[in-house]
């Protein structure tokens, strides 16, 4: 009996241990890859260790003295007093240890040019080492000359991670834009998102190859930094495991209430409009869903299929479409489908009218006979979207019905519903809709006045339900309500 009890007790303890492991209780040590000029050392480091002690461990392994070693991490040479805990390192993260025989050489001798900011040339201090970037970097401004936001807080980044398939906390990393190596120190912290996202804005010193340091050009200018993001919530120990920054998502340190639900939430989305309107992430997603279902996303020529600030501010398009990845996979699929359809239509193409097909087809403008290639194979007339025919298109069915005097009066809607499957959908659409005079989108009028506004995003044509032409003051006077 005792034996069985013991067995269960030990089983219980194992389960507990497993559970606590699952929760990832903070381990005090990190397994770190230290990349030197020619090899990678895998070292178990205590979080409380200082860089000085890391240098001691590394120098012992490399057989050099500690002052011949620089530790470089995320674009910074770390000071001796920095602790491992201060760096936003994860398991299997990389540190760079550079052997430096010429400790006296100062990169200050290199020309320091900061692009587009003449008045802010920064002269590096004598000692080049510093705290890690995650400690020194302040919240990035959305635009360079943004006076709206006080940037005194430490930066937090959110990314869309394709590995975790969700929004995660992100880490900013730096490498040389020439050799793509991370043994690179920046001369200056980035201050706005453009510094990070646009190339050739911040220069730095590349130390990956001691003998032939990277240069931007023949005249020996320092190379530019290339910033990239990693997910802080998983670690594969790969150097090129990138994540996409979601620059509009921020920590709500100013406690701004969401414009839709009025709650003060911890993580928010700040729209790139003049007023920096704020929504919480739930309301942002609700906004996306509601706009998506009404097909109100807009195909922006430079950005893609996107949305503006919900209050309609000018120039407020979300310019990183990965923000829409926060939608559910099904919703994102729908987003992509609509985006593609919109692209096809804007490029002068047509969508196959067959139910459940909808294949996008790019055809010559004068071509009337369209074949659904790589799709269902349907051959149809580009103008009336019916099966292909010779001669003129048959006029719209509802127009015939309206003008014909019938012996029996049949409610067209009832008649449409009483049809055998396939046919009925097409008939219902025909009977209950009229095409927008401009873009031909079938439009249903479910009440209200005769003043129609085309619901297709980007069309917005105002037309009269009765005249089927542009809405005029005469329509308003003659038959606004029929």
């Amino acid at each position: 009996m005792e034996f069985i009890l013991d067995f269960f007790r030990s089983l219980f303890n194992t389960m507990l241990a497993l559970l606590s492991f699952g929760k990832k209780t903070v381990k005090n040590t990190l397994n770190i890859n230290v990349k030197t000029n020619d090899q990678v050392l895998n070292i178990e480091l205590d979080r409380s260790l200082e860089i000085k002690e890391v240098k001691e461990i590394v120098s012992e392994k490399l057989g050099v003295s500690t002052d011949e070693i620089k530790i470089i991490f995320a674009g910074k040479e770390l000071t001796d007093s920095t602790t491992i805990a201060e760096c936003d390192l994860g398991q299997m993260s990389f540190l760079h240890a550079i052997k430096t025989k010429r400790r006296t050489e100062k990169p200050a001798s290199m020309p320091l040019i900061t692009v587009e900011e003449e008045d802010s040339v920064v002269v590096p201090v004598e000692d080049h080492s510093s705290k890690p970037l995650c400690e020194t970097l302040q919240d990035l401004k959305l635009v360079q000359n943004d006076e709206n936001v006080e940037t005194t807080r430490k930066a937090h980044f959110f990314v869309y991670c394709y590995f975790c398939k969700k929004m995660c906390r992100g880490k900013l990393r730096v490498r040389c834009c020439k050799c793509k190596e991370c043994a690179f120190t920046v001369y200056q912290d980035p201050r706005c998102w453009d510094d990070v996202l646009k190339p050739s804005r911040i220069r730095g010193l590349c130390e990956s190859n001691e003998d032939h340091p990277c240069t931007e050009n023949e005249s020996g200018n320092s190379p530019f930094a290339e910033f990239y993001f990693k997910c802080a919530e998983h670690s594969l120990g790969l150097e090129n495991d990138f994540a996409v920054p979601l620059k509009l998502v921020r920590i709500n340190e100013q406690n701004v209430p969401c414009l839709a639900c009025m709650d003060v939430c911890e993580t928010i989305l700040v729209f790139p409009c003049e007023f920096r309107h704020v929504t919480c992430l739930d309301c942002f997603l609700q906004y996306c869903r509601s706009r998506l279902l009404e097909r109100q996303f807009l195909a922006h020529p430079d950005i893609g299929f996107t949305l503006q600030c919900p209050t309609g501010c000018p120039n407020s398009f979300i310019d990183e479409i990965h923000h829409f990845k926060l939608l559910s996979p099904e919703e994102y699929d729908r987003y992509q489908m609509y985006a593609t359809e919109e692209y096809v239509l804007q490029a002068g193409g047509v969508l196959c009218p067959r139910p459940d097909c909808g294949m996008g087809l790019l055809v010559e403008p004068e071509c009337k006979k369209v074949v659904c290639q790589n799709g269902c194979g349907f051959v149809f007339c580009r103008d009336c979207l019916q099966g292909y025919h010779i001669g003129d298109c048959i006029p719209e069915m509802n127009q015939i019905d309206m003008n014909r005097s019938c012996e029996y009066t049949v409610n067209p809607n009832n008649a449409a519903e009483a049809r055998w499957e396939d046919v009925s959908t097409a008939v219902t659409i025909k009977v209950s809709t009229k095409p927008c005079p401009k873009c031909r989108t079938p439009t249903e009028r479910d009440g209200g006045c005769m003043h129609m506004v085309c619901t297709r995003s980007g069309c917005d044509f105002e037309w009269c339900w009765i005249c089927q032409t542009e809405w005029t003051r005469d329509c308003m006077g003659a038959h606004w309500f029929g």
Binding site: A260, S290, R291
Partner: protein, 154 residues
């Protein structure tokens, strides 16, 4: 039935605690998305002294889409048709989730103070308003007396 969003609860509470002068909006006992609204006719308008009943409904995706508002009390106004439907841009394409029940009702009250016959909804009313403003105002006052001051039916 989905839970009522906090925003609607908050808005309803604030409408009770800090009511807008001349406007009352009380949620229905059965349906918290349906509000019984009473707007008093603004001073120095032909609607002065009248109490106008309206109904306001918050659709499922409010505040992403606009509330639906309609006058129940008959009113002689160029921007309100005989079914009580209101021609107001913020109820249509100019809606933004940053607007609230409060701001919508204030705009409706402002519309009573400043009818806009150039963007009419009730054509006959608008025509008269432009052709003979004095008579139109007289009509409006008469309708106000007839339909909006009968306290027994309120």
């Amino acid at each position: 039935m989905a839970a009522l969003p906090r925003r609607i609860i908050k808005e309803a509470q604030r409408l009770q605690l800090e009511p807008v002068p001349g406007i009352s909006a009380v949620p229905d006992e059965q349906n918290a998305r349906y509000f019984h609204v009473i707007v008093t006719g603004p001073a120095d308008s032909p609607f002065e002294g009248g109490l106008f009943k309206l109904e306001l409904f918050l659709p499922e995706d409010y505040p992403m889409s606009a509330p639906k508002v309609r006058f129940i009390t008959k009113i002689y106004h160029p921007n309100i048709d005989r079914l009580g439907r209101i021609c107001l841009d913020i109820l249509k394409d100019k809606w933004s989730p940053a607007l609230q029940i409060r701001t919508v009702l204030l705009s409706i009250q402002a519309l009573l103070s400043a009818p806009n016959p150039d963007d009419p909804l009730a054509n006959d009313v608008a025509d008269l308003w432009k052709a003979n403003e004095a008579e139109a105002i007289r009509n409006a006052r008469e309708w106000t007396q007839r339909y909006a001051m009968d306290t027994t039916s309120m």
